[in-house]
Amino acid sequence: MGCIMSFKKSPAFLILTAFLSGLIFGLGLIVAQMTNPAKVIGFLDVAGQWDPSLAFVMIGALVTLSAVQFLIKNSCQHHASVTQSAKPTHSKVDAKLIIGSSVFGIGWGLSGLCPGPALVSLTSGLTGTFVFVGAMITGFVVFKVLHQPK
């Protein structure tokens, strides 16, 4: 089988695929009810009424993504070049990774909201979701100001 990725992708095509990816990602979050903070807190609350749903969401996502990765790896000899730029720039486990992820976890646990579900739930019009997204964007800016001097 030839490489299914070996065709020319126009800039407009790439905008369309990015849009579709965001749309499908959001629908996945809604179908799995990950847009409901109470349900996410139910997963994180192992000492209370534990709701294991999020584990099944991760299994569904990991199996699907791994299956596609396997198919493409098998059909594309130049697979490495296909995904080169998607490779993250960092490779080592460092203090920034551990501290950053731990801080993120505290924020996530406080409200049950993480970036994807927060953006999807803006459509609900709830003031709280706007407060969260506004604060999250402020957090992005604070990071840039503190760690990325121009």
Binding site: A18, W50, A61, P88, L97, S101, V103
Partner: protein, 152 residues
């Protein structure tokens, strides 16, 4: 019901076959979306990275990021259009939400990813960094929920 390592699993009454099926189906859609972005756009579907990338106006690759975010935000409208419902129970106060958002925004930038970038895309690539990151945020999120709901 069964008790294991101090964690009671009697809460499985919340889980039924439909919930498991919807969780798996939702997860499959998320995996499909991540695969689409990875193989067509050569990008990792990490929401925090995509969103923060738009804030740099000098960056040349904002177009696909905006397209992704517009798709993400419009997904709820598409869902409503087909008669779907999206239950949201947000019990936090405005102050807690503001603090929570700040920590999520800052933490995901320092740690280079969130639930999607590390927890799904990174784990699927078997990235060591993502495994460490996922372990970190799962543990601190669990401890935070424990502190807020069982201690305070």
């Amino acid at each position: 019901m069964a008790a294991f390592a101090g964690i009671r699993f009697n809460s499985f009454k919340y889980m039924n076959y439909l919930t498991v099926l919807l969780s798996l189906a939702g997860g499959a859609l998320i995996g499909l979306a991540a695969a689409l972005l990875l193989y067509f756009n050569n990008r990792v579907a990490g929401i925090s990275g995509i969103a923060a990338g738009v804030i740099k106006p000098w960056q040349s690759d904002s177009a696909w990021r905006l397209a992704f975010l517009i798709g993400l935000i419009l997904s709820a409208s598409v869902w409503f259009l087909f008669g779907g419902i999206m239950p949201i129970q947000l019990d936090s106060t405005v102050e807690v939400l503001a603090l929570s958002g700040l920590l999520v925004g800052y933490g995901t930038q320092l740690g280079n990813g969130c639930t999607s970038g590390h927890g799904i895309c990174g784990l699927a690539r078997l990235s060591t960094r993502s495994m460490v990151a996922t372990a970190c945020f799962m543990i601190t999120a669990g401890l935070t929920v424990y502190g807020v709901h069982h201690v305070l």
